[in-house]
Every structure is written in structure tokens, then in C-alpha cells.
Amino acid sequence: MLDIIINTLVIIFSCLGIFFFLVGTLGLVRLPDVYTRLHASTKCDTLGAGSILFALAIYERFSVNGLKMIVLAFLVMVMSSTTGHAISRAAYKVGITPWRKSVPTVFPEEEGENVT
């Protein structure tokens, strides 16, 4: 019984991780500018790798190796989101304007600027 529960949880979490990796990669290829791409690709590391590592930790039943996975997931989450923040901040300070075609009414004075 316990085996079934653990295996189900492992399958659920790894499928979730694979889903986030897929979505993140798709977004990296398809989205228009730096900010939206970062928005997609940081999901790969935080949610994708995080949930796959969590699935591995459950698979190891929180033994010493499993706890190492938890620590790894924590480090990956902290570092990946920080690098995402740093890159987007640098892009903003350098002066890359966000893609605004989708909401032309919010910033009417700067419409049509599309820097990729």
C-alpha cells in the first residue's frame, strides 16, 4: 500500500516537472522579448527541476540521499530566481522596452515599440 502511494506521488511530481520543462522551453522559443522569455524559462529551473528533485526525494523516502535532493531543490530555486531577477533588471536598466503589442491601451504614448 505504501509503495503504491509513494509511486503515485513520484509519478505525479515528475510529470509536473516534465510539464513545466516543456512549457518553459516552448516559451523560450515562442515568446517575443527578454522579459517574457525569462518569465517562461525560469519556470524550468524553479518549478520543473524543483518538482523533479522533490519526486526523487520521495522516491528515496527522505533518506540521506533524499534530504540531499531537498537541499538541491532549495538551492536551485533560490539561485535560479535570483539570476532571473538579475537578468531582467539588467535588461530594464540597459533600456530594453518590454513588448507591449498585447496591451496598447495601457501605455498609449509608446505603442508599437518591439525590441527583441
Binding site: L75, M79, T82, A86, A90
Partner: protein, 244 residues
């Protein structure tokens, strides 16, 4: 005329290289000397003769000790060339490109780096010291050590790192790689063995393995600390700009 000579010399070189390629043993053939006796020897006796449970470390530090010593010297020479061209940084005269820029540093990045940097340095030393037992070793650990210095420089500024890791100490650390190899080799010579032999006959038989392990770890620490100091020195030399 000159052009013709150059083309002729290149043609001769081309013939020589192509001839070398032709007489090389065929790719992946089971009769190659590497496959017939070198790899079986490494696999069967590598752990015992190399003195490290990690076979790779045993091979690169023991069987191919001279080769690794050359690699360490290459890193040292690269550092020397960079410093010969760019010159050392001077805290009083120089500042960094990151500090000249008008963008102030992000609080989030500062906070995370302050939290993570000790763990990165700890991990680097773990990799250096554990190289004889598990994957890792001096080169990898040294790269992480250098990367930690770089990330601290980028977030907390040139002046802090150049002061804390002052030239006085960095000069000593930079040459640690070649020096540790040299010391290990000379210890072997003084004990009546060949250069870079870690199994010393002058030590009592029961302690031989222990002494060999100590020497391997000393060389690993030398490579790691030397590589890390070289990377950080190259980075600081490239980062500096003149103060106005």
C-alpha cells in the same frame, strides 16, 4: 615569391599531418595498444597502484603525473601572460567596471550572494579534498573557488575583494599548483625514488599508503588553491579601470 614559399611550406606540413593521420591506429579497433594492455592495467591495478579510490584521480596524479604537472604549469603561465600584458591591480589607483556604471546593485542579488557564498566556498573545498575518493579534484574545485571570488567581486565590489584577498597572499597562492607538484616530486627523490612517485620506500611499510594519500591530497589542495587564485587574479586584472 614569398607567398609561394609559404604555400610550399604549408603543403609540406599538410603532407606530414595527413601521413601522421594515415599511420595512426584505426579508430576503435580492439587491437590498439590502448585497448590491449593499457586500459586493462588501469582497470585492474589502478586503484591499488594509483593510491586513490577515484580511478581518475589515481590516473591523472600518478600514472600521468608529468602531464598534470604540465597542465598546472600551463595555468600558471596563462596567469603570468595576462599579468604581463594587463598588469596587477592596485587598490589605490584602480576601481572596477561594475562600480563605474551608474546602475546601483540589486538588494536581492546582494542578499542571496551573501547567503550562498560561504556554501559555494565550502563546496569548492569539499570537492578539492574529496577528489581522491569521489568525482572531483583540484581543477574542478579550483574553478568553483575562482567563480566564488568572481561573484563576490561583482556584487560587493572590487575594493573589498582586493583588500581581503590582498596581493601579498594571492602571490603565494598562485604558484601553489606547480609548487605542490614540485614538493611531492622532490620528496620522492629524497627518499630514493623517481620524481613524482608517491609510494616512498623510506617510510615504514604499514604507513606507505597513508603517506601516499597525504601526498595526493597535498597535490590536490595545491592544484585547487593555485587554480582558484589564478582565476581570481586574471579576473581582477581584467576588471580594473583607472580611477579618475
Amino acid at each position: 615569391m614569398k607567398k609561394g614559399l609559404v604555400v610550399f611550406a604549408l603543403f609540406l606540413l599538410w603532407i606530414l599531418l595527413v601521413y601522421t593521420v594515415i599511420v595512426l591506429p584505426p579508430m576503435g579497433s580492439p587491437e590498439n595498444p590502448t585497448n590491449t594492455h593499457i586500459i586493462p592495467r588501469y582497470l585492474e591495478k589502478g586503484v591499488e597502484e594509483g593510491g586513490a579510490h577515484n580511478l581518475v584521480t589515481g590516473i591523472i596524479l600518478n600514472y600521468r603525473g608529468f602531464d598534470t604537472m604540465g597542465e598546472v604549469t600551463v595555468i600558471f603561465v596563462a596567469l603570468t601572460c595576462v599579468l604581463a600584458v594587463l598588469g596587477r591591480e592596485n587598490i589605490l589607483r584602480h576601481t572596477s567596471k561594475a562600480e563605474v556604471s551608474s546602475v546601483e546593485k540589486s538588494v536581492i542579488v546582494k542578499c542571496v550572494v551573501r547567503f550562498l557564498a560561504p556554501f559555494i566556498i565550502l563546496f569548492a573545498f569539499y570537492i578539492i579534498l574529496h577528489g581522491a575518493e569521489s568525482p572531483g579534484g583540484g581543477f574542478q574545485g579550483g574553478a568553483i573557488l575562482g567563480a566564488s571570488v568572481i561573484i563576490i567581486t561583482l556584487t560587493f565590489g572590487f575594493a573589498l575583494v582586493a583588500k581581503k584577498l590582498s596581493l601579498k597572499y594571492r602571490v603565494l597562492f598562485e604558484s601553489a599548483g606547480p609548487l605542490s607538484f614540485f614538493i611531492a616530486g622532490m620528496v620522492a627523490i629524497f627518499c630514493g625514488q623517481n620524481f613524482l612517485t608517491y609510494l616512498l620506500p623510506c617510510v615504514a611499510h604499514t604507513y606507505q599508503d597513508f603517506v601516499r594519500h597525504l601526498l595526493l591530497i597535498m597535490v590536490e589542495i595545491g592544484i585547487g588553491v593555485g587554480g582558484g587564485a589564478a582565476i581570481s587574479s586574471i579576473f581582477l586584472a581584467m576588471e580594473k579601470v583607472e580611477k579618475e
